[in-house]
Symmetry: C2
Subunit: 270 residues, 2 copies
């Protein structure tokens, strides 16, 4: 399967590009354009490169379920991706991708792909509301995200908040729950492939309870529909902190009010 | 790591027992005592055997995050489990287990283990209520679950509902949400190892919207604490059905009101 031509010129696709070296072996070059607070590349971005290799060998177009274990921090620079087709069935195809840097495995992702072509006959039941947000034009752009020397990811992704997050002012509002708009800064439209990465692009909800040092152990994402073009409405929240761990849920809804991706990660407080 | 001696005589532990054949290779014998409606062994039970092999090679006691992809239906009978230690660090250990039957891979599970020894200094934040249930003695025992010829799993696991589920009467109440008590029928107490299986023991929430044929693609469980002995309070729910798929969330709380496990699966309607 070749890359979708409409996405070829965009940063996300350039920065997750993989070159095939042999069957099931690819080279990627991670950039610093997706670095977070931690000064490491965002995990969702790293996953994007791994899935870019994996999907080339699978006979289904859309990631349905992806689980990724983060084993060591990624660094900008060259990486090797090793892929395996685990099973191809009639409705789904499952594979696994390992990413290595410096000879060490840093990421292990398993994924089942399928076909999310809209089916007007399929049953739809939605027992939850999309985030209720003012239009993106009426929302707040965190100026910290515009600093030239700022976070890499804040130049690659645009965020719009209904009000200024307390953690940006050195306060904490005590509620680990945020809703905001998100899109790629260069106009790349979302698709099911990029959603599997974008579920990890939110500033952590636990910033609002004063927890700044958290690393993800595992992230599972379910992609539920092909997104409409335009801004994505996001909801990120944590309900349970205990034993030095917390979960973080992320939902992404498209502009038509359709849930397009659900994600949960387990993270460790440092 | 040897099996906990207090669990050795119980059915769950007998039926998930594995015998080591070589480094990273084990034999299991799946029984029909955990069969569901589908007449296949419950996926959580199958996962239990895979984790029983995997945990023997890891230097941490408690599963923190487990993701399992169900590739083909399991059948009662012999199975091979192949395990791999992916990474052992200071706080966590990650491994992978593949289960095969008839030379075909049926289950691929990846897991990060850690140590959930209670830490009284750790921060605790709980922004959700446990299920509000009458005491188990005042709850309903589905008589269908007591038929001698009934579902295998209904003999191995005890369920107590606050009221009779509509789906048991051939009706549907339209709300895919249930709360109930659960425990092993033979008195085996829950622990973090068994929780990773028990999160899959709930009758599907979508039974209440008339969906009886659903198969799990992927299941992720986060074990959050070591459970107190006794009945477990469970909450199972689905919020989104679309494109022939639905997610199912399961929470397990122990009798002290502590969330001990969270699970989400992605399932496909047949």
């Amino acid at each position: 399967m070749s890359l979708d031509h409409t996405t070829e010129g965009f940063r996300f696709d350039r920065d997750t590009r993989v070159d095939k070296r042999a069957d099931g072996e690819f080279t990627a070059t991670l950039t610093d354009a997706w670095n977070t607070f931690t000064t490491h590349p965002n995990g969702g971005y790293v996953l994007g490169a791994a899935l870019n290799a994996l999907r080339q060998g699978l006979n289904q177009p859309d990631p349905l379920a992806v689980s990724v274990f983060f084993l060591r921090p990624a660094a900008p620079g060259e990486a090797t991706v090793r892929t395996e087709v685990v099973r191809e069935g009639r409705r789904t195809a499952t594979g696994q991708a390992l990413m290595e840097q410096g000879g060490k495995e840093i990421v292990r992702a398993t994924a089942t792909y399928g076909d999310l072509t809209p089916d007007p006959k399929a049953r739809v039941l939605t027992l939850e509301e999309p985030p209720r947000l003012p239009s993106p034009e009426d929302c707040f752009v965190p100026p910290e995200f515009d600093r030239p020397e700022g976070l890499g990811i804040a130049h690659s992704v645009e965020y719009r908040y209904p009000r200024r997050p307390a953690w940006l002012e050195g306060r904490k509002d005590g509620r680990p729950h945020a809703e905001f708009w998100m899109r790629f800064a260069d106009g790349r439209e979302p698709d099911t492939h990029s959603l599997a990465s974008m579920v990890d692009f939110a500033p952590p909800a636990v910033l609002e309870i004063g927890e700044f040092a958290t690393i993800t152990v595992e992230l599972s994402v379910h992609v539920r529909a092909r997104p409409a073009p335009g801004w994505l409405a996001c909801r990120v929240f944590t309900k349970h902190v205990s034993g030095g761990m917390h979960e973080e849920d992320m939902e992404i809804w498209d502009g038509t009010g359709t849930l397009v991706a659900q994600c949960r990660q387990l993270a460790m407080l440092l």
